[in-house]
Amino acid sequence: MIYLKDVTTLRLDTTACTGCGRCAEVCARAVFEMRERKSVIIKPDACIECGACAKNCAYGAITVTSGVGCAAAFINGMLTGNAPECGCGPKGSSGCC
């Protein structure tokens, strides 16, 4: 399934990409495809901003503002003034994940 269109913060700097393929390997949403020894974002709307690709790109070619896609986390964040956090931490009992 695909969530909202045109919202992802995912960016790829093709000039920094060495074509190692790690991003395509680690992404669980099949967002990237390797074409002519470069990574290409083929399904931007499938991106859930988990941050796995950016974390595993040794060449810093990917940036994404990652976080949890969880409404309860943002609502709690608004109410408490803290950073959004999902309820699966030590404090929360019924988590969002």
Binding site: Y3, L4, A28, V68, A71, F74, G89, P90
Partner: protein, 375 residues
């Protein structure tokens, strides 16, 4: 066959040992030796079969609350009879994750390296950084993994990706991180294919069953608030100039309890289960549409339409949006929603929810006042 032993490791990794005079019924109750995974070899053997109590606990975990006590002690575990060339699989110390992994390794000889993720599953822990580069690197050194195996590769669950930078782990420990499949069930196929995961193995699924098992987590919080809501509704409709009227509570209060029940059912169960078939990508809108349908049906069957206009309007303002609000919470349980999308939804939905709740209260006050002949 140490399954029995494992079942009793409910203590957190940093629990004090029993011999320090600490009384704990959990990990070192009277007459029970503390589980010591670092004894002699430092390696615990586990079976790959799940016991009935493992399964029972899995159900309890799904219902929430119980999850925090469901921890596996970090360290290295042996499945079958692994040797220095056997594969090393990394697991979170959330028991459900660990159980799924050891079951997938049935009839294989392998090592499991359990890292301390505070009892949280891989996906959540990776997002928080608990399933992270530093913890993994530290655990590799602490368990002296390089003395246990000859090779220099470890297999991580792909969903740990947001927390672990594979290249940094390799730089710091010499162990190359191989990203295993998303689902532990595919591990055998992955290994047999020469540590290659197909595109399908690399993608998270979110099928009917996945959605169904998550609905209890959505229903439970809603049902917790329900008694409070019920009390408030019954009280409001029972209030009369002469005191408390049971007929008022019965005529108006009970129908609105049913309506709320329908909205909860719609938002926490129907919407998640029917997710792909409900139009629109927005969860708020999906939940509202399902809620509208449920409200129309429920309102008809319990006779809301014969009530005063203020209450009919209130019904259609409030309950579909209640369903929408609850459905929006399901974004936390799905595998395809990201923070930017959720933030976008909340930006337009939250003001709407608050306005609708306010308007509903005004409508009920208007109804009460006209009932009392003030208006």
């Amino acid at each position: 066959m140490d399954t029995e032993k494992l079942n009793s490791t409910c203590c957190p990794p940093d629990a004090p040992p029993a011999d320090k005079g600490v009384k704990s019924t959990c990990c070192a109750g009277p007459g029970r030796a503390p589980i010591n995974l670092s004894a002699s070899s430092g390696i615990e053997t586990v079976t790959s079969e799940l016991t009935l109590s493992d399964r029972f606990n899995a159900v309890r975990c799904r219902l929430g609350g119980f999850r925090m006590h469901y921890i596996v002690r970090p360290g290295i575990y042996a499945v079958g009879a692994p040797g220095p060339d056997s594969d090393v699989f990394v697991s979170a110390n959330y028991r459900l994750s660990f159980n799924v992994l050891r079951r997938s390794l049935r009839n294989m000889n392998a090592w499991i390296l359990v890292i301390d993720t505070k009892g949280i599953n891989v996906w959540c822990a990776a997002g928080k950084g608990a399933f992270g580069t530093d913890e993994l690197v530290g655990r590799i050194f602490e368990t002296r993994l390089s003395n246990i195996v000859n090779h220099r590769r470890i297999i991580l669950p792909q969903l740990g990706g947001p927390g672990v930078a594979g290249h940094l782990v390799q730089k710091q420990t010499g162990f190359k991180v191989l990203w295993g499949p998303v689902n532990a069930a595919d591990i055998r196929a992955y290994v047999e294919a020469g540590y290659k995961a197909s595109k399908a193995m690399r993608s998270v699924r979110f099928n009917l069953f996945d959605r169904l098992i998550l609905t209890p987590m959505e229903l439970v919080p809603a049902l917790k608030i329900f008694p409070l809501y019920a009390l408030a509704v019954l009280l409001v409709f029972a209030l009369a100039p002469t005191g408390i009227s049971a007929t008022g509570a019965e005529a108006y209060g009970l129908p609105f309890l049913v309506m709320a029940g329908a909205a909860v059912f719609s938002g926490a169960f129907l919407t998640p289960v029917l997710l792909p078939y409900i139009p629109n990508r927005s969860f708020a809108i999906k939940g509202w549409l399902t809620g509208l349908l449920t409200t129309v049906v429920a309102a008809r069957s319990i006779g809301i339409y014969s009530m005063p206009d203020a209450l009919i309007i209130m019904t259609f303002v409030f309950f579909p949006l209640l369903s929408s609000y609850i459905a929006l919470q399901f974004t936390g349980a799905t595998t395809f929603t990201g923070p930017s999308g959720v933030k976008k939804e909340l930006r337009y939905a939250m003001p709407l929810y608050i306005t609708a709740a306010g308007a509903s209260i005004v409508l009920i006050i208007a109804f009460k006042l006209s009932q009392w002949g003030v208006l």
